[in-house]
Amino acid sequence: MAKEGAELGVELAEMWLCGRSYLPAAAEATAKANAIIAGSTIRDGAFARPGTVAGSGIQGSVQGEVFPYWDALRDALQGILAEAADNLYACGDALVRVADVYAATDDAARDEMNRVTTRFVMSDQYRIDDPTVRPPLYQPE
Protein backbone atom coordinates (compact mmCIF):
# COMPACT_ATOMS: atom_id res chain seq x y z
CA MET A 1 0.00 0.00 0.00
CA ALA A 2 2.75 2.45 -1.00
CA LYS A 3 0.20 5.12 -1.70
CA GLU A 4 -0.37 8.54 -0.24
CA GLY A 5 -2.82 11.38 -0.09
CA ALA A 6 -6.40 10.89 -1.24
CA GLU A 7 -5.58 7.56 -2.90
CA LEU A 8 -4.27 6.22 0.40
CA GLY A 9 -7.30 7.69 2.16
CA VAL A 10 -9.60 5.55 0.03
CA GLU A 11 -7.57 2.42 0.84
CA LEU A 12 -7.71 3.22 4.55
CA ALA A 13 -11.45 3.81 4.32
CA GLU A 14 -11.82 0.34 2.78
CA MET A 15 -9.83 -1.10 5.65
CA TRP A 16 -12.03 0.83 8.10
CA LEU A 17 -15.13 -0.58 6.38
CA CYS A 18 -13.86 -4.14 6.83
CA GLY A 19 -13.21 -3.42 10.49
CA ARG A 20 -16.55 -1.75 11.14
CA SER A 21 -18.86 -3.71 8.88
CA TYR A 22 -17.75 -7.00 7.33
CA LEU A 23 -15.76 -8.55 10.16
CA PRO A 24 -18.30 -7.53 12.85
CA ALA A 25 -21.07 -8.95 10.64
CA ALA A 26 -19.18 -12.25 10.42
CA ALA A 27 -18.63 -12.09 14.18
CA GLU A 28 -22.31 -11.45 14.78
CA ALA A 29 -23.34 -14.49 12.72
CA THR A 30 -20.89 -16.59 14.74
CA ALA A 31 -22.14 -15.07 18.00
CA LYS A 32 -25.69 -15.99 17.00
CA ALA A 33 -24.70 -19.65 16.63
CA ASN A 34 -22.82 -19.41 19.95
CA ALA A 35 -25.99 -18.12 21.66
CA ILE A 36 -28.10 -20.89 20.09
CA ILE A 37 -25.70 -23.55 21.35
CA ALA A 38 -25.47 -21.96 24.80
CA GLY A 39 -29.27 -21.73 25.04
CA SER A 40 -29.64 -25.44 24.39
CA THR A 41 -28.46 -26.33 27.91
CA ILE A 42 -31.93 -25.66 29.31
CA ARG A 43 -33.11 -28.73 27.40
CA ASP A 44 -30.49 -31.12 28.80
CA GLY A 45 -33.17 -32.89 30.82
CA ALA A 46 -34.29 -34.44 27.53
CA PHE A 47 -31.63 -37.14 27.98
CA ALA A 48 -32.89 -38.02 31.48
CA ARG A 49 -34.25 -41.51 31.96
CA PRO A 50 -35.22 -43.82 34.80
CA GLY A 51 -32.17 -45.52 36.26
CA THR A 52 -29.97 -46.14 39.25
CA VAL A 53 -28.29 -43.02 40.54
CA ALA A 54 -24.55 -43.74 40.47
CA GLY A 55 -23.02 -44.61 43.81
CA SER A 56 -26.32 -44.54 45.67
CA GLY A 57 -28.17 -47.59 44.45
CA ILE A 58 -31.27 -45.41 44.50
CA GLN A 59 -33.72 -45.53 41.62
CA GLY A 60 -34.18 -42.12 40.11
CA SER A 61 -33.45 -40.09 37.02
CA VAL A 62 -30.07 -40.39 35.29
CA GLN A 63 -28.61 -38.73 32.20
CA GLY A 64 -27.55 -41.94 30.44
CA GLU A 65 -24.51 -42.97 28.44
CA VAL A 66 -24.68 -40.57 25.51
CA PHE A 67 -25.17 -37.27 27.31
CA PRO A 68 -21.69 -36.82 28.87
CA TYR A 69 -20.00 -37.07 25.45
CA TRP A 70 -22.71 -35.06 23.72
CA ASP A 71 -22.39 -32.37 26.38
CA ALA A 72 -18.58 -32.32 26.11
CA LEU A 73 -18.69 -31.91 22.34
CA ARG A 74 -21.33 -29.19 22.63
CA ASP A 75 -19.14 -27.37 25.19
CA ALA A 76 -16.17 -27.61 22.83
CA LEU A 77 -18.20 -26.16 19.96
CA GLN A 78 -19.63 -23.42 22.16
CA GLY A 79 -16.11 -22.42 23.26
CA ILE A 80 -14.83 -22.47 19.68
CA LEU A 81 -17.69 -20.23 18.53
CA ALA A 82 -17.20 -17.78 21.40
CA GLU A 83 -13.50 -17.50 20.59
CA ALA A 84 -14.11 -17.29 16.83
CA ALA A 85 -16.56 -14.40 17.29
CA ASP A 86 -14.20 -12.66 19.70
CA ASN A 87 -11.31 -12.99 17.22
CA LEU A 88 -13.42 -11.52 14.42
CA TYR A 89 -14.48 -8.54 16.53
CA ALA A 90 -10.87 -8.03 17.69
CA CYS A 91 -9.55 -8.16 14.12
CA GLY A 92 -12.18 -5.67 13.02
CA ASP A 93 -11.18 -3.32 15.81
CA ALA A 94 -7.49 -3.77 14.91
CA LEU A 95 -8.13 -2.87 11.26
CA VAL A 96 -9.93 0.30 12.36
CA ARG A 97 -7.02 1.21 14.67
CA VAL A 98 -4.45 0.65 11.92
CA ALA A 99 -6.46 2.85 9.54
CA ASP A 100 -6.91 5.58 12.17
CA VAL A 101 -3.27 5.56 13.27
CA TYR A 102 -1.97 5.75 9.76
CA ALA A 103 -4.46 8.36 8.62
CA ALA A 104 -3.22 10.59 11.42
CA THR A 105 0.19 10.78 9.70
CA ASP A 106 -1.11 12.07 6.38
CA ASP A 107 -3.56 14.99 6.36
CA ALA A 108 -4.82 14.45 2.83
CA ALA A 109 -5.30 10.74 3.44
CA ARG A 110 -7.10 11.47 6.70
CA ASP A 111 -9.48 13.93 5.03
CA GLU A 112 -10.29 11.53 2.22
CA MET A 113 -10.73 8.63 4.61
CA ASN A 114 -13.14 10.70 6.74
CA ARG A 115 -15.09 11.71 3.64
CA VAL A 116 -15.39 8.13 2.37
CA THR A 117 -16.17 6.58 5.77
CA THR A 118 -18.90 9.20 6.31
CA ARG A 119 -20.39 8.10 3.02
CA PHE A 120 -20.25 4.48 4.21
CA VAL A 121 -21.99 5.42 7.46
CA MET A 122 -24.73 7.36 5.65
CA SER A 123 -25.28 4.63 3.07
CA ASP A 124 -27.96 2.00 3.58
CA GLN A 125 -25.65 -0.46 1.88
CA TYR A 126 -23.46 -1.02 4.92
CA ARG A 127 -24.35 -1.99 8.43
CA ILE A 128 -21.85 -0.19 10.66
CA ASP A 129 -20.97 -1.90 13.91
CA ASP A 130 -21.23 -0.09 17.22
CA PRO A 131 -18.47 -1.59 19.37
CA THR A 132 -20.37 -0.66 22.52
CA VAL A 133 -23.41 -2.71 21.53
CA ARG A 134 -22.27 -6.21 20.76
CA PRO A 135 -23.97 -9.51 21.59
CA PRO A 136 -22.68 -11.39 24.62
CA LEU A 137 -20.42 -14.36 23.93
CA TYR A 138 -21.11 -17.45 26.01
CA GLN A 139 -18.25 -19.63 27.16
CA PRO A 140 -19.28 -23.10 28.37
CA GLU A 141 -19.84 -23.30 32.12
Binding site: I37, A46, G51, L73
Partner: protein, 334 residues
Protein backbone atom coordinates in the same frame (compact mmCIF):
# COMPACT_ATOMS: atom_id res chain seq x y z
CA UNK B 1 -40.13 -35.01 15.23
CA UNK B 2 -40.02 -38.34 17.01
CA UNK B 3 -41.92 -41.20 15.41
CA UNK B 4 -45.04 -42.47 17.20
CA UNK B 5 -44.09 -44.49 20.26
CA UNK B 6 -45.65 -45.58 23.56
CA UNK B 7 -45.32 -43.22 26.48
CA UNK B 8 -43.80 -44.23 29.80
CA UNK B 9 -47.28 -44.53 31.28
CA UNK B 10 -48.45 -46.71 28.40
CA UNK B 11 -45.46 -48.98 28.95
CA UNK B 12 -46.21 -49.12 32.66
CA UNK B 13 -49.80 -50.12 31.83
CA UNK B 14 -48.64 -52.73 29.33
CA UNK B 15 -46.32 -54.09 32.03
CA UNK B 16 -49.25 -54.16 34.43
CA UNK B 17 -51.26 -56.09 31.86
CA UNK B 18 -48.48 -58.68 31.69
CA UNK B 19 -48.46 -58.87 35.50
CA UNK B 20 -52.25 -59.28 35.57
CA UNK B 21 -52.11 -61.98 32.92
CA UNK B 22 -49.37 -63.78 34.86
CA UNK B 23 -51.31 -63.60 38.13
CA UNK B 24 -54.48 -64.73 36.41
CA UNK B 25 -52.78 -67.63 34.64
CA UNK B 26 -51.02 -68.67 37.83
CA UNK B 27 -54.22 -68.48 39.82
CA UNK B 28 -56.34 -70.38 37.36
CA UNK B 29 -53.89 -72.91 36.04
CA UNK B 30 -51.45 -73.54 38.83
CA UNK B 31 -53.13 -72.61 42.09
CA UNK B 32 -56.64 -73.40 40.90
CA UNK B 33 -57.99 -70.09 42.10
CA UNK B 34 -61.47 -69.27 40.95
CA UNK B 35 -61.15 -66.28 38.66
CA UNK B 36 -61.78 -63.05 40.49
CA UNK B 37 -65.29 -61.85 39.89
CA UNK B 38 -66.64 -65.30 39.14
CA UNK B 39 -69.58 -66.44 41.29
CA UNK B 40 -67.39 -69.05 42.94
CA UNK B 41 -64.58 -66.76 43.99
CA UNK B 42 -64.50 -66.24 47.71
CA UNK B 43 -67.69 -68.18 48.19
CA UNK B 44 -68.44 -71.35 50.11
CA UNK B 45 -67.35 -74.60 48.50
CA UNK B 46 -69.99 -76.55 46.76
CA UNK B 47 -69.92 -79.77 44.85
CA UNK B 48 -69.36 -78.38 41.43
CA UNK B 49 -66.48 -76.21 42.58
CA UNK B 50 -64.96 -78.99 44.60
CA UNK B 51 -65.29 -81.14 41.53
CA UNK B 52 -63.08 -78.72 39.60
CA UNK B 53 -60.54 -78.96 42.38
CA UNK B 54 -60.40 -75.27 43.09
CA UNK B 55 -58.27 -74.43 46.07
CA UNK B 56 -59.95 -73.67 49.35
CA UNK B 57 -58.74 -71.58 52.22
CA UNK B 58 -58.38 -72.53 55.88
CA UNK B 59 -61.95 -71.43 56.43
CA UNK B 60 -63.09 -73.81 53.77
CA UNK B 61 -64.08 -71.05 51.37
CA UNK B 62 -63.04 -71.14 47.74
CA UNK B 63 -59.90 -69.12 47.19
CA UNK B 64 -60.11 -66.15 44.91
CA UNK B 65 -61.04 -63.30 47.16
CA UNK B 66 -59.85 -59.83 46.33
CA UNK B 67 -57.07 -60.24 48.87
CA UNK B 68 -55.99 -63.58 47.36
CA UNK B 69 -55.63 -62.05 43.94
CA UNK B 70 -53.87 -58.96 45.30
CA UNK B 71 -51.36 -61.18 47.05
CA UNK B 72 -50.77 -63.06 43.82
CA UNK B 73 -50.38 -59.86 41.82
CA UNK B 74 -47.92 -58.51 44.33
CA UNK B 75 -45.58 -61.30 43.30
CA UNK B 76 -45.49 -59.83 39.80
CA UNK B 77 -45.24 -56.16 40.75
CA UNK B 78 -41.70 -56.17 39.36
CA UNK B 79 -42.98 -56.53 35.79
CA UNK B 80 -44.26 -52.98 35.20
CA UNK B 81 -41.05 -51.65 36.77
CA UNK B 82 -38.99 -53.82 34.43
CA UNK B 83 -40.69 -52.17 31.45
CA UNK B 84 -40.30 -48.69 32.93
CA UNK B 85 -36.63 -49.26 33.68
CA UNK B 86 -35.96 -50.00 30.00
CA UNK B 87 -38.08 -47.20 28.59
CA UNK B 88 -35.23 -44.68 28.48
CA UNK B 89 -35.78 -40.97 27.96
CA UNK B 90 -39.03 -39.72 26.44
CA UNK B 91 -37.96 -39.58 22.76
CA UNK B 92 -40.13 -36.54 22.03
CA UNK B 93 -38.22 -34.51 24.60
CA UNK B 94 -35.14 -34.71 22.37
CA UNK B 95 -36.96 -32.85 19.58
CA UNK B 96 -36.02 -29.46 21.08
CA UNK B 97 -32.29 -30.23 21.17
CA UNK B 98 -32.40 -31.70 17.67
CA UNK B 99 -34.09 -28.57 16.31
CA UNK B 100 -31.71 -26.30 18.23
CA UNK B 101 -28.64 -27.96 16.76
CA UNK B 102 -30.15 -27.73 13.29
CA UNK B 103 -30.68 -23.99 13.84
CA UNK B 104 -27.03 -23.70 14.89
CA UNK B 105 -25.53 -25.29 11.77
CA UNK B 106 -27.95 -23.41 9.57
CA UNK B 107 -26.90 -20.14 11.23
CA UNK B 108 -23.26 -20.94 10.47
CA UNK B 109 -23.47 -22.71 7.13
CA UNK B 110 -26.63 -24.14 5.63
CA UNK B 111 -25.60 -27.22 3.69
CA UNK B 112 -29.08 -27.43 2.14
CA UNK B 113 -29.43 -23.92 0.78
CA UNK B 114 -25.73 -23.08 0.60
CA UNK B 115 -26.31 -19.97 2.73
CA UNK B 116 -22.94 -19.03 4.18
CA UNK B 117 -23.30 -15.75 6.11
CA UNK B 118 -19.87 -15.79 7.76
CA UNK B 119 -18.03 -16.86 4.62
CA UNK B 120 -19.88 -14.25 2.56
CA UNK B 121 -18.85 -11.40 4.88
CA UNK B 122 -15.26 -12.65 4.93
CA UNK B 123 -15.06 -12.78 1.14
CA UNK B 124 -16.46 -9.24 0.97
CA UNK B 125 -13.83 -8.12 3.48
CA UNK B 126 -11.10 -9.74 1.41
CA UNK B 127 -12.20 -7.90 -1.72
CA UNK B 128 -12.11 -4.57 0.12
CA UNK B 129 -8.65 -5.31 1.50
CA UNK B 130 -7.16 -6.17 -1.89
CA UNK B 131 -5.20 -2.92 -1.95
CA UNK B 132 -3.42 -3.72 1.31
CA UNK B 133 -0.11 -5.47 0.72
CA UNK B 134 2.98 -6.32 2.75
CA UNK B 135 4.01 -8.92 5.28
CA UNK B 136 1.26 -8.23 7.84
CA UNK B 137 -1.37 -8.10 5.10
CA UNK B 138 -0.29 -11.44 3.62
CA UNK B 139 -0.05 -13.09 7.04
CA UNK B 140 -3.48 -11.81 7.99
CA UNK B 141 -4.98 -13.01 4.74
CA UNK B 142 -3.25 -16.41 4.59
CA UNK B 143 -3.39 -17.42 8.26
CA UNK B 144 -6.74 -15.95 9.15
CA UNK B 145 -9.15 -14.66 6.53
CA UNK B 146 -8.59 -17.47 4.01
CA UNK B 147 -9.10 -20.12 6.68
CA UNK B 148 -12.37 -18.83 8.05
CA UNK B 149 -14.88 -20.12 5.47
CA UNK B 150 -13.63 -23.71 5.85
CA UNK B 151 -13.40 -23.43 9.64
CA UNK B 152 -17.03 -22.24 9.73
CA UNK B 153 -18.08 -25.29 7.74
CA UNK B 154 -16.23 -27.46 10.24
CA UNK B 155 -18.00 -25.70 13.12
CA UNK B 156 -21.33 -26.27 11.36
CA UNK B 157 -20.40 -29.90 10.92
CA UNK B 158 -19.93 -30.28 14.68
CA UNK B 159 -23.42 -28.86 15.24
CA UNK B 160 -24.71 -31.25 12.54
CA UNK B 161 -22.99 -34.09 14.38
CA UNK B 162 -24.65 -33.08 17.65
CA UNK B 163 -28.03 -32.93 15.93
CA UNK B 164 -27.65 -36.38 14.43
CA UNK B 165 -26.28 -37.95 17.59
CA UNK B 166 -29.42 -36.76 19.40
CA UNK B 167 -31.54 -37.95 16.48
CA UNK B 168 -29.89 -41.38 16.56
CA UNK B 169 -30.41 -41.65 20.32
CA UNK B 170 -34.02 -40.65 19.82
CA UNK B 171 -34.43 -43.44 17.26
CA UNK B 172 -32.85 -45.96 19.63
CA UNK B 173 -35.43 -45.15 22.29
CA UNK B 174 -38.39 -45.02 19.91
CA UNK B 175 -37.41 -48.45 18.62
CA UNK B 176 -36.82 -49.71 22.17
CA UNK B 177 -40.27 -48.59 23.26
CA UNK B 178 -41.91 -50.18 20.22
CA UNK B 179 -40.05 -53.40 21.02
CA UNK B 180 -41.17 -53.23 24.65
CA UNK B 181 -44.77 -52.77 23.52
CA UNK B 182 -44.47 -55.77 21.21
CA UNK B 183 -42.84 -57.81 23.98
CA UNK B 184 -45.57 -56.90 26.49
CA UNK B 185 -48.40 -57.69 24.09
CA UNK B 186 -46.93 -61.02 22.98
CA UNK B 187 -46.09 -62.04 26.54
CA UNK B 188 -49.64 -61.25 27.61
CA UNK B 189 -50.99 -63.31 24.73
CA UNK B 190 -48.62 -66.17 25.58
CA UNK B 191 -49.81 -66.14 29.20
CA UNK B 192 -53.43 -66.08 28.15
CA UNK B 193 -52.84 -68.98 25.77
CA UNK B 194 -51.10 -71.40 28.08
CA UNK B 195 -53.71 -74.04 27.35
CA UNK B 196 -53.69 -73.48 23.62
CA UNK B 197 -51.67 -75.74 21.41
CA UNK B 198 -49.82 -73.18 19.36
CA UNK B 199 -51.39 -70.75 16.99
CA UNK B 200 -50.35 -67.55 18.73
CA UNK B 201 -47.72 -65.21 17.41
CA UNK B 202 -45.15 -65.39 20.16
CA UNK B 203 -41.99 -64.86 18.17
CA UNK B 204 -40.50 -61.43 18.73
CA UNK B 205 -38.05 -59.74 16.45
CA UNK B 206 -36.05 -58.17 19.14
CA UNK B 207 -34.59 -54.91 18.55
CA UNK B 208 -32.96 -53.82 15.49
CA UNK B 209 -31.79 -50.76 17.34
CA UNK B 210 -28.18 -51.38 16.42
CA UNK B 211 -29.22 -51.48 12.82
CA UNK B 212 -30.83 -48.07 12.97
CA UNK B 213 -27.66 -46.39 14.15
CA UNK B 214 -25.42 -46.12 11.16
CA UNK B 215 -22.10 -44.48 10.65
CA UNK B 216 -21.88 -41.94 7.95
CA UNK B 217 -18.37 -40.77 7.37
CA UNK B 218 -17.44 -37.53 5.70
CA UNK B 219 -20.90 -36.36 4.84
CA UNK B 220 -19.50 -33.02 3.90
CA UNK B 221 -16.48 -32.42 1.80
CA UNK B 222 -15.01 -30.07 4.33
CA UNK B 223 -11.38 -29.16 3.98
CA UNK B 224 -9.13 -31.26 6.15
CA UNK B 225 -11.86 -32.31 8.52
CA UNK B 226 -13.83 -35.50 8.20
CA UNK B 227 -15.99 -35.83 11.25
CA UNK B 228 -17.69 -39.11 11.86
CA UNK B 229 -21.38 -38.52 11.89
CA UNK B 230 -23.86 -40.81 13.51
CA UNK B 231 -27.16 -40.64 11.80
CA UNK B 232 -30.46 -42.26 12.37
CA UNK B 233 -31.87 -44.38 9.61
CA UNK B 234 -34.42 -41.68 8.97
CA UNK B 235 -31.86 -38.95 8.60
CA UNK B 236 -29.45 -41.12 6.71
CA UNK B 237 -31.93 -42.34 4.14
CA UNK B 238 -30.56 -40.10 1.46
CA UNK B 239 -26.97 -40.38 2.56
CA UNK B 240 -24.26 -42.92 2.01
CA UNK B 241 -24.65 -45.26 4.92
CA UNK B 242 -22.73 -48.23 6.21
CA UNK B 243 -25.27 -50.58 7.68
CA UNK B 244 -22.86 -53.46 8.12
CA UNK B 245 -23.59 -53.60 11.84
CA UNK B 246 -27.26 -54.16 11.34
CA UNK B 247 -28.61 -57.25 13.03
CA UNK B 248 -31.94 -58.55 14.13
CA UNK B 249 -32.33 -60.93 17.03
CA UNK B 250 -35.37 -63.11 17.47
CA UNK B 251 -36.75 -64.45 20.70
CA UNK B 252 -39.56 -66.82 21.57
CA UNK B 253 -41.72 -65.89 24.53
CA UNK B 254 -44.14 -68.82 24.49
CA UNK B 255 -43.75 -71.46 27.19
CA UNK B 256 -45.52 -74.24 29.08
CA UNK B 257 -45.87 -72.45 32.37
CA UNK B 258 -46.25 -68.92 33.63
CA UNK B 259 -42.72 -68.89 34.93
CA UNK B 260 -41.30 -70.17 31.65
CA UNK B 261 -43.08 -67.45 29.71
CA UNK B 262 -41.88 -64.79 32.14
CA UNK B 263 -38.34 -66.15 32.03
CA UNK B 264 -38.44 -65.92 28.24
CA UNK B 265 -39.67 -62.35 28.57
CA UNK B 266 -36.85 -61.48 30.95
CA UNK B 267 -34.34 -63.10 28.58
CA UNK B 268 -35.73 -60.94 25.79
CA UNK B 269 -35.26 -57.81 27.91
CA UNK B 270 -31.66 -58.86 28.57
CA UNK B 271 -31.09 -58.96 24.82
CA UNK B 272 -32.81 -55.62 24.52
CA UNK B 273 -30.61 -54.12 27.24
CA UNK B 274 -27.54 -55.36 25.43
CA UNK B 275 -28.76 -53.92 22.12
CA UNK B 276 -29.41 -50.55 23.75
CA UNK B 277 -25.92 -50.59 25.24
CA UNK B 278 -24.23 -51.28 21.91
CA UNK B 279 -26.40 -48.78 20.07
CA UNK B 280 -25.59 -46.00 22.50
CA UNK B 281 -21.96 -47.11 22.50
CA UNK B 282 -21.89 -46.55 18.77
CA UNK B 283 -23.19 -43.02 19.24
CA UNK B 284 -20.77 -42.23 22.06
CA UNK B 285 -17.86 -43.61 19.99
CA UNK B 286 -18.68 -41.18 17.20
CA UNK B 287 -19.04 -38.29 19.66
CA UNK B 288 -15.75 -39.20 21.31
CA UNK B 289 -14.04 -39.42 17.94
CA UNK B 290 -15.15 -35.89 17.13
CA UNK B 291 -14.18 -34.68 20.57
CA UNK B 292 -10.69 -36.16 20.05
CA UNK B 293 -10.54 -34.44 16.67
CA UNK B 294 -11.27 -31.10 18.30
CA UNK B 295 -8.78 -31.69 21.11
CA UNK B 296 -6.07 -33.01 18.78
CA UNK B 297 -6.21 -29.85 16.73
CA UNK B 298 -6.14 -27.58 19.76
CA UNK B 299 -3.01 -25.57 20.26
CA UNK B 300 -2.42 -22.98 22.89
CA UNK B 301 -0.83 -19.67 22.11
CA UNK B 302 -0.37 -17.90 25.40
CA UNK B 303 -3.78 -17.23 26.84
CA UNK B 304 -5.65 -18.15 23.71
CA UNK B 305 -6.17 -21.46 22.01
CA UNK B 306 -6.74 -22.43 18.43
CA UNK B 307 -8.37 -25.47 16.96
CA UNK B 308 -6.71 -25.15 13.58
CA UNK B 309 -9.44 -26.79 11.57
CA UNK B 310 -12.22 -25.27 13.61
CA UNK B 311 -10.75 -21.93 14.63
CA UNK B 312 -7.89 -20.16 12.87
CA UNK B 313 -5.29 -18.65 15.22
CA UNK B 314 -5.93 -15.15 16.51
CA UNK B 315 -3.85 -12.90 14.25
CA UNK B 316 -0.88 -10.97 15.62
CA UNK B 317 -2.53 -7.94 14.07
CA UNK B 318 -4.82 -7.79 17.09
CA UNK B 319 -1.94 -6.89 19.42
CA UNK B 320 -1.44 -3.14 19.86
CA UNK B 321 2.33 -3.65 19.62
CA UNK B 322 1.99 -4.84 16.04
CA UNK B 323 0.43 -1.66 14.72
CA UNK B 324 3.64 0.41 14.39
CA UNK B 325 5.41 -2.40 12.51
CA UNK B 326 2.39 -2.88 10.25
CA UNK B 327 2.46 0.77 9.39
CA UNK B 328 6.23 0.77 8.92
CA UNK B 329 6.34 -2.39 6.80
CA UNK B 330 3.06 -2.38 4.92
CA UNK B 331 2.28 1.27 4.43
CA UNK B 332 5.71 2.73 3.97
CA UNK B 333 7.83 -0.10 2.58
CA UNK B 334 11.48 0.72 2.09
Amino acid sequence: MARAHPSLEELRKLGAQVADAAARARGIHELKFAPEGSPAAGGPPDDSIAGEKYGTGADGRVLGTHEDWSRLRLGYAWIPELFVSLAGPEPGHLDGLIETMESAWKALYDRDSGADPVGTHIRQAESHLSGWSGVAAETFRTNFLHKIPDSVKSQAQLAFMLQHAALADQDVWVETRLNLKDLAEKTTTALESLDDCGGTDSLITILTVIGIVVSVVALWEVAAVACTIVASSVAAASLVADKAGESAVEAEVAGDTVETVLQNMVNATDVLRSQIYWSERKITDALRENLDLVHDTTHFHGATSTHDAFLPPRPALVGESMIPSIIRNDFRPG
